[in-house]
């Protein structure tokens, strides 16, 4: 997949722990960890909106496309 999740960078920038973000957006820490590592097939718009709301950022700050090869 050419999509890279930059959630860990945003969390570091906002000085926020994964545990707190998971609690704030209402998903499990395990799922957030999977999302951070990019080991999910997709992310719901609803989840993305909540993350953007809590971290005060745009989807483009969290996701990046990297051409393969």
């Amino acid at each position: 997949m050419g999509i890279i999740v930059r959630l860990d960078v945003m969390l570091a920038t906002r000085k926020m722990k994964s545990k707190d973000l998971a609690a704030a957006i209402g998903i499990s820490e395990q799922n957030l960890s999977l999302l951070k590592s990019g080991k999910v097939r997709g992310v719901r718009f609803e989840t993305l909106a909540k993350i953007c709301d809590v971290l005060d950022c745009q989807p483009a700050d969290l996701l990046e496309y990297e051409a393969e090869g």
């Binding site: 999977l34 999302l35 097939r41 997709g42 992310v43 719901r44 989840t47």
Partner: protein
């Protein structure tokens, strides 16, 4: 009602149903083969006692073998259908209510039952022909015959097959949804 409580009820229901189906399976196997063996080999005069068979007709052994073979095939396919049903009930009993294998076993149950009814119908085509094969005259031709109850069972089994198919797709969608955060 709580989901876990409902799950327990379903599992208990499967246990009761499994016991009943197991008893029926043993009875069906024993009764059906007993009838077939008795008719074809056990009591040789039974064949001649059939109304459409001439009393002095000499029934060749090869005809008896073919008749028994067709009859036994119909029985074996029905047994396979019952076994597929038992396998499904056992999975429910263990707790696999909604997974791909359970969905597939519903499909297998439906398909095998349809097949069993098909074999039963084919047996019906040759039934009168084989019975009257050694009549001096009045032999019956191979003819299309069907049992309406077989047809009803086949239609219901087809619905089961479709239900299993829908369930398989639902399981796939659920799995896909789980992979989305």
């Amino acid at each position: 009602m709580l989901v876990s409580k409902m799950r327990t009820h379903i599992q208990k229901g499967a246990v009761v149903l499994m016991a009943a189906v197991s008893v029926y399976f043993v009875y069906y196997t024993w009764h059906s083969f007993r009838r077939a063996i008795r008719f074809c080999y056990g009591e040789m005069e039974r064949w001649n006692n059939v109304q459409i068979v001439e009393n002095d007709a000499v029934i060749e052994m090869s005809t008896r073998h073919i008749y028994f073979g067709l009859w036994a095939a119909a029985i074996v396919f029905s047994m396979a259908g019952i076994l597929a049903g038992l396998y499904l009930l056992n999975r429910v009993r263990i707790g696999f209510l909604f997974d791909e294998i359970s969905a597939r076993s519903i499909q297998i149950f439906g398909a095998v039952t349809v097949l069993a009814m098909g074999v039963d119908t084919i047996f019906g085509f040759f039934d009168l022909y084989l019975l009257t094969l050694h009549n001096a005259d009045h032999q019956f031709p191979v003819q299309y015959m069907y049992d309406p109850s077989d047809l009803k069972t086949a239609v219901l089994a087809s619905v089961m097959f479709m239900f299993g198919w829908v369930m398989r797709e639902a399981v796939k969608i659920e799995r896909e949804n789980k992979e989305f955060v």
